[in-house]
Symmetry: C2
Amino acid sequence: MGDTRWLTPEEQDAWRSFMAGCRALFTAVDAQLQKDAGMPLAYYEILVRLSEAPGRALRMSQLAEAASASKSRASHAVARLEERGWVRRMDCPTDRRGQVAELTDEGYAVLAATAPGHVAQVRESLFDGLTPEQVTQLKMIGQVMAAACGGRPIPAFPPGCPGTEEPAELGREEALAD
Amino acid sequence: MGDTRWLTPEEQDAWRSFMAGCRALFTAVDAQLQKDAGMPLAYYEILVRLSEAPGRALRMSQLAEAASASKSRASHAVARLEERGWVRRMDCPTDRRGQVAELTDEGYAVLAATAPGHVAQVRESLFDGLTPEQVTQLKMIGQVMAAACGGRPIPAFPPGCPGTEEPAELGREEALAD
DNA sequence: TCCCATTGTTTGAGTGTTCAATGATTGAAT
DNA sequence: ATTCAATCATTGAACACTCAAACAATGGGA
């Protein structure tokens, strides 16, 4: 049982730097969103995923996966967002078990108004300090983490089947995501 | 006001990968600790920092900073850990405002018992999939994030002034940290 | 047709985190 | 000495997240 492969000094250094950096980063990003839009990053991401989906609507399960949230979290979050009128929930026409969450116009407006400040924060807290090579590394490291933790490759557009099936003409809405 | 510098496609890709990866990673690590030790990563880190401090004790503020937690979080967390008998709180002899948190023997034993499983999880979820170069990049990226978010350079050993001042002979306890 | 394992989603309890307010103490300036 | 801003730490309320339990609906077989 004494066969634990401890982290090497280099690995420990990296792990601690990384943990501390992540906490600082996500704390800053969360705080900015909380201050300017009254919602945490997880909620913002839900709105973003909905805004990108065809018809601005997604089945709850797909929304959860797209936002890398548990079903429970998605359910609670959508409930809160619905109270604020930013999301609407409807029965799924093709599966009576299902629910479809749809971004309201008001929700979209909130997203559009919030996005610039959020992007600015992400730039300031992360990308402004990284070289292009480091950006690439960041992506690869993210993929490794997701893959190693049972997560799927994160489809940018999960194969959605929301009630409304319009191809969702992409326009400026594509831009306000992050 | 239309001067928002949106993320480039490469940056957006990196940001989304990174967020998803982080969630998967920390979810997995948290789940392992919760299952095997009944505590989240943030609490584990508090025990680790205490275990490394001279006399296994730290002022609350220093503990908070070492564990990259807010004072409020540290206070609540130590309260919970104290209930379980893993940490003890004492008045600071040199500053009547202060409190000193000290790791109990039982807390140390829990840490020692928990560390191997935790390290295994971190290896599996992260380091086993990274090249040595990526480990180095991970460290640098962590430093950038911490620096860009107002965080200080993260002293491995914050200049502690706990009640008991023994240099804390380093031995195997150094190893069980991560 | 009747099971019945599976899927889709919600719910509530328990726990952790944040935010703002509080109280106590300190150090330095007046 | 007195004042006052800054520091140390805690508290409680509001909110978010997790886990396990619940329930409804589905889709195949027997």
